[in-house]
């Protein structure tokens, strides 16, 4: 039975991914802070899909714990999905470096810290898959969320390099760039419905892209058009826009 590790398992996208992979017969390792919060979800998924689900304590910014966290997984997973992220508060981050630091640490440093360890193991075994949930915010820095955007841009560049490195070992790396997703993280924002995906359709699209071995996935597809357009606006014009 294949086993997938989901890092940052309490978010709505992570829960939808857990359901999607369980539905396809995967056993699950769910990793998060205060992992006992996941008890009812573990029961729910194991009843629905009759798969084995285990929860593990994991903190994205406790870098020193990442090696022992991964080494203690037995048996080790066949694939990993890195879902955790921290949207943070742009305005607060501009005034207080601690907020900016946290945004960068969770979205970028934390992800690299754990994924480097997993990548080394997968490379050694010449098998496995790595899926990273980045963001369209990383495609171009905008005044409204460039702290989060820059951390995600770093994460996207990291995944792209990792894909390049692991290709010859037969390891698939998928970069996912969601646009708006209706989740707890975005509950307070007013999102345009036609650009907003639901967590379960996002999870289905990710599973499908994984099976098809896609490199980069925009959810929903319209975001590829939007971001391509935004990327091509010349900087002299872009800097004058209120995006």
């Amino acid at each position: 039975m294949a086993r997938v590790l989901i890092l940052g398992a309490t978010s709505d996208i992570a829960k939808a991914l857990a359901n999607e992979y369980a539905q396809h017969g995967y056993d699950l390792y769910l990793a998060t802070r205060q992992s006992d919060r996941l008890d009812p979800d573990i029961k729910d998924i194991s009843i629905r899909y009759q798969v084995n689900v285990k929860a593990f304590e994991f903190d994205a910014t406790a870098f020193e714990t990442h090696a022992s966290f991964y080494n203690e997984l037995d048996p080790q997973p066949d694939g990993v999905i890195c879902v955790f992220g921290y949207l943070g508060d742009q305005k607060k981050g501009e005034k207080m470096f601690s907020e900016a630091h946290k945004i960068i640490d969770v979205n970028h440093t934390g992800a690299i810290s754990i994924l480097e360890k997993i990548a080394a193991d997968f490379e050694h075994q010449k098998r496995g898959f790595i899926i990273g949930i980045s963001s369209v915010a990383g495609d171009r820095g905008r005044q409204s969320n460039y702290l989060y955007g820059s951390a995600k841009a770093g994460f996207s560049a990291y995944l792209s390099g990792l894909r390049n490195r692991l290709f010859k070992s037969g390891i698939h790396v998928l970069t996912v760039k969601p646009g708006f997703v209706a989740t707890k993280m975005t509950a307070s924002l007013k999102l345009p419905p036609f650009l907003t995906a639901q967590p379960d359709t996002t999870a289905k699209a990710i599973y499908k892209a994984h099976i098809k071995k896609k490199d980069v996935l925009y959810v929903t597809g319209i975001w590829w058009w939007i971001m391509t357009f935004i990327r091509y606006i010349p900087e002299p014009i872009f800097k004058r826009l209120g995006l």
Partner: protein, 440 residues
Amino acid sequence: MKTTNWNNYPHTDATIIDASNDEALSNILSRTTSCIPRGLGRCYGDASLQSHILSTDRLNRFLSFEPITGTLTCEAGVSFAEILTFFVPRGWFPPVTPGTKFITVGGAIASDIHGKNHHRAGTFCEHIESITLKLSNGQISQCSLSENKELFHATCGGMGLTGLILQATFKLTPIESAYIKEEVIKAKDIDEIMDLFEASAPFPYSVAWIDCLAKGKQLGRSIMMRGGHARLENCKGLKNPFLLRPTKPINIPFFLPDALFNKWTIKSFNALYYHKKRTISKLMLVDYDTFFYPLDRIYHWNRMYGKRGFIQYQFVLPKPSSCEGIKKILNKIGQEGKGSFLAVLKLFGKANQNVLSFPMEGYTLALDFPLTDDIFDFLDRLDTIVLDYGGRIYLTKDARMKDTLFSKTYTNLSRFLTIKKEWDKAGKFQSMQSKRLGIL
């Protein structure tokens, strides 16, 4: 957010609170405003409406399942559709199901729902082992037949007025296939269909569609559908007896014109429907979706009644007076030319102990009427007949009953109020319906 239930009447502007969010829940319960739990909004009226709604949408997890006994514990927002998806392939079926699977477990308890097997299995709540409730003082309490029994009997059928149902434990029924061995029989008038119901007592499921616009000698002409879960030996030729053939849902993408349903279109439809079935009796194997949930295949079928919506009128009359009373009501409908496409007749078994439960031994008839200016006066006239014959109206289908009729026909009301006062001292749980009917 503008909110309405399945029949599109009435509408209200409501603040929706996520009942799975402990913080938001404690916050609303500590304030002076009242609130009401709501699941998938499939009731026909204002029972789950008011300005502050506790949505159980995200309370949708299965918490335990015992595969030997079929005992399931789940959160209140789990829908019957989900139970069917995950448990039919393992050989289990809800002990009682209504005519739609898009309802939640919490709603099923609050409505003490009945199904086509009421004469043998009773209501859904008669299969409940225990309920976990969030009370208005913020505490979480269990109730069952052995613990807080009064609270249990008030919560089952209590329209969400005793507290927020968080979880429930109940037993599923074992089945050998996803199919129903169904028998369809025509009855030429009301006496014949009632004889058929008596003769159908041994069948696990029975229900009849009735042509409410047939007059004179044909008054009450009906089509009876009865059956039971198909055994393995009935399913020869099926590769997997638990697998349904895939079907395409039909969608009504927008509201159809209000004037679509009038007595002529309904009369023609009913005549066609009655005569479409050529033979007097027919035996066949149908999947559970076709037998229990024929309308679920048409998404948004409620839009057929137009933007103004419709009223569903479901009453029950005690058995001794059922025949006379139903004839009188059918005559009244015929006289005033008010037709209903979906007229469903069913013989209930005995009533239970639940304080505001609807079913009693006798016939129940459910009718849909498009909302028109004169419909309320007309239904008031039907109410008089229901009252005269000792019957009552189903709260889950009610959007317009008068408080006087309610207190005369739900004779346990004062007992309900005493229990509600004890467990909901602050009177936090209220709906537009409970205010209208004086359940305060």
